[in-house]
């Protein structure tokens, strides 16, 4: 009697374990369910809930479902910091979605890892690739092949507080490095810093520094050149002048925004995604946007999201049809307006019916994008970026810039493609 009970308990446990294993298995592998002719496309992205960018994406999916009865979407929100980890887990566990919307500097890494499908043939057949700006397009390519389509773009530009400029008797935003340093110094008082940027040990620091590097004429492959040193020196000098807070070392781009919003910084370098927030939260702040100051040449950095189709999808054709559809000017234009993002196709960007061609501040960003460069440095970019972050932090804590740049260049060079 007793014995029977033991085995009963054991088999019960085993059966329930088995059932649990099965049910979770069938749930996750259901991305390609085509039983009734309806294809479910799984989409992963990091547009945070209730943000303008999420409204944009959900609008897109809904619109497509309405016009295409055979396609349904299963969209999963994954926080920005977790998307990469989640994709890696997906790779390891063979449970990737069909479509991913990804931050553009990460695109090449995942393409090289074989996570994204090569869609070169499809893109060539489509024939619209030439309409895109060079920078965004370069970020989806690896070894001359296409692994996705750029969806939206942003770039850094200079925000400045007009009231504080008037008080200091300055009429125009700085156009060159010398002017930038000068103006920032003049604007600095006991309560206000001249300029706010991000220097915390995260990707945002690299994002904010690279524009100066490119403006100087240098690049990551000659990080120890006199030009590159001059770029780092500019930042260090401004901190030593007192026109950038010492605290920059712990500030991210949102902290910079807060400094600017509260009048603790007269200028800040930031992206267009802050515009809606500034207008909503700081209605009485009298600010303007200007192009980044120029060194030897004009440059800014390109941010934004790319579409990619995963290599494991069973619905590549349907996914590609959807991607193509999102890129039509009359779909893309209104939705980017809604999301506070900028297009990266010349035909949409130049279309005068859209906000960014009427809105003076938005226009600055549209113009800035044309000189914006992507972070297309191959699959080792994340590691390179941590070295750049370290270099920035060393310069900010007043180490000798030349030594810092030399040592960093030695570490960066073997990682470049």
């Amino acid at each position: 009697m007793k014995e029977k009970m033991y085995w009963g308990v054991i088999s019960f446990i085993l059966i329930s374990l088995f059932l649990v294993g099965c049910s979770s298995g069938s749930e996750t592998s259901g991305s390609g369910d085509e039983s009734d002719g309806v294809v479910t496309l799984e989409v992963w992205d990091y547009n945070s809930p209730d943000s303008p960018s999420e409204d944009q994406l959900l609008g897109l999916l809904e619109q497509y479902e309405e016009s295409n009865e055979n396609v349904k979407f299963k969209r999963t929100y994954i926080p920005f910091g977790d998307l990469k980890t989640k994709l890696l887990q997906g790779v390891a566990g063979n449970e990737l979605p069909d479509i991913v919307l990804i931050d553009n500097p990460d695109h090449q890494s995942f393409a090289e890892a074989g996570v994204f499908a090569d869609i070169t043939d499809e893109v060539n057949e489509w024939g619209e690739a030439d309409l895109y700006y060079e920078g965004p397009m370069a970020s989806v390519m690896l070894d001359g092949k296409y692994y996705g389509i750029p969806n939206d773009s942003n770039a850094l530009a200079l925000y400045y507080n007009k009231d504080l400029f008037n008080e200091a008797g300055i009429d125009n935003p700085p156009k060159t490095w010398d002017e930038l340093r000068e103006v920032a110094k003049e604007l600095t008082t006991s309560e206000t810093k001249g300029l706010a940027i991000a220097g915390a040990k995260i990707e945002e620091a690299t994002f904010q520094f690279l524009p100066y590097l490119w403006q100087s004429g240098a690049d990551l492959d000659n990080f120890d050149s006199p030009e590159a040193i001059s770029a780092m020196k500019l930042i260090q000098d401004m901190v030593n002048d007192g026109s950038i807070s010492e605290n920059v070392i712990n500030m991210d781009q949102n902290d910079a925004l807060v400094q600017f919003q509260t009048g603790k910084a007269a200028m800040m370098v930031n992206g267009p995604w802050q515009l809606p927030r500034l207008r909503e939260e700081s209605a009485d702040l009298n600010f303007e946007v200007a192009l980044m100051p120029e060194g030897k040449q004009a440059a800014s950095i390109l941010g934004g999201e790319n579409w990619a189709i995963t290599s494991t999808t069973e619905n590549k054709d349907e996914a590609w049809e959807f991607l193509k559809w999102t890129q039509q000017p009359d779909v893309m234009g209104p939705l980017h307006e809604l999301g506070g993002q900028l297009p990266n196709r010349s035909d949409v960007a130049e279309d005068e019916q859209y906000e960014w061609n009427e809105d003076k501040q938005m226009q600055v960003f549209v113009q800035q994008i044309q000189t914006a460069k992507p972070r297309a440095y191959g699959s080792n970019y994340p590691e390179i970026s941590t070295i750049v972050q370290e270099a920035i932090q060393r310069a900010l804590t007043d180490e000798d810039v030349e030594t810092v740049m030399k040592e960093s260049a030695e570490k960066i060079n073997p990682l470049l493609p």
């Binding site: 054991i10 446990i13 890696l88 040990k201 070392i249 712990n250 994340p382 370290e390 060393r394 804590t397």
Partner: protein, 325 residues
């Protein structure tokens, strides 16, 4: 023993029937019935055992395997070549590893010394009887209850160079002539984080020590008092030796917990400025999830595991010594 034997004899009648059929020899009979008798007990621990197996032992084992392989994002799906000790060699040769090992050690030792020291003093204090004692005791626990994300951000603002309260007070009372960028310079960042962690850990140590203090027998103290011992004598000759086992446990738990520091670093400095607050767990995280170098990260994690295992072994050794005394 006696109880066990009873169970065996009681069950013999039942098992005999089976064994007769199989014609099994006598000694085996006893053994099999012993297992069967305990089967129910094994079933009870089965869920916990499976959990530990799948969610703790397997990941640890897998981590050790990975630390001997070259795993990066490029071959996560395919063949992972075995590279022997190459990952360990590379880790030991990197300057970042040595810096993080040094920082982790400084962080752990100084945190534990002050947490335990101050916690002990506070425990002695709260062991006295005074009005509102329980109220203040529970208030103290708040530091331990607050989520680390909140504490970390709070201290980040307290330390701020432009608006921080700490700088303001120190400048006002004349200790500093100008504000210090606590978290922003390499010389002070680690100290600032250690101070934060001490603040967080004091109440936990205090509560554990307090409960140990309250469990001490009062008659020993009375006897000592009658024998003419003064307060210091009874503290050093009675309280301290009696508390030893409790302190040992708290010490080991504290070291293991503190050695694994991660969240507070992530929130307050991200390992910066430069590498001033780089610690081993954070270094491992950075290798895996920022640089995508899983093999190296596995090596770092395994090294942490080995270090903590050694500490635990020392603890076990000391406990055994204590017991045999």
């Amino acid at each position: 023993m006696e109880a066990n034997a009873k169970v065996i004899t009681k069950d013999n009648s039942e098992s005999k029937r089976n064994l007769n059929l199989k014609n099994a020899p006598n000694p085996k009979k006893e053994k099999s019935s012993l297992i069967r008798n305990n089967a129910s007990k094994y079933i009870f621990i089965l869920p916990a055992f499976l959990f530990v197996l799948f969610f703790m032992l397997y990941p640890i084992f897998y981590n050790i395997v990975i630390s001997f392989q070259d795993v990066s994002i490029a071959n996560l799906r395919g063949e992972k070549p075995f590279v022997g000790l190459a990952n360990y060699v590379e880790v030991f040769q990197s300057e970042k590893f040595l810096i993080s090992l040094k920082n982790t050690t400084i962080y752990t030792v100084s945190s534990i010394v002050f947490q335990l020291g101050i916690g002990f003093l506070l425990a002695l204090f709260f062991n006295q009887k005074f009005p509102l004692r329980n109220f203040f005791r529970s208030i103290m626990l708040l530091a331990w209850l607050t989520p680390l994300v909140i504490t970390g951000n709070l201290f980040k603002w307290l330390y701020d160079v432009d608006y921080g309260v700490i700088n303001y007070i120190l400048v006002q009372i004349g200790i500093l002539s100008e504000p210090i960028n606590w978290l922003g310079q390499q010389s002070t960042a680690l100290i600032a984080i250690i101070i934060t962690n001490i603040w967080i850990g004091i109440p936990f140590n205090m509560i554990l020590l307090l409960s140990a203090l309250q469990a001490l027998p009062t008659d020993v103290y009375e006897a000592a008092k009658i024998d003419g011992a003064n307060k210091f004598q009874s503290f050093f000759k009675i309280t301290v030796p009696l508390l030893r086992p409790a302190v040992l446990v708290i010490l080991i738990l504290g070291i293991i917990y503190t050695f694994k520091v991660f969240d507070i670093i992530l929130i307050m400095t991200g390992g910066g400025p430069v590498n001033a607050t780089q610690v081993l767990p954070f270094y491992g995280y950075e290798l895996a999830f920022i640089n995508f170098d899983f093999g190296l990260s596995g090596a770092v994690a395994t090294i942490i595991l080995v270090i903590l295992l050694c500490i635990s072994l020392i603890y076990l050794y000391m406990v055994r010594k204590e017991e045999s005394m």
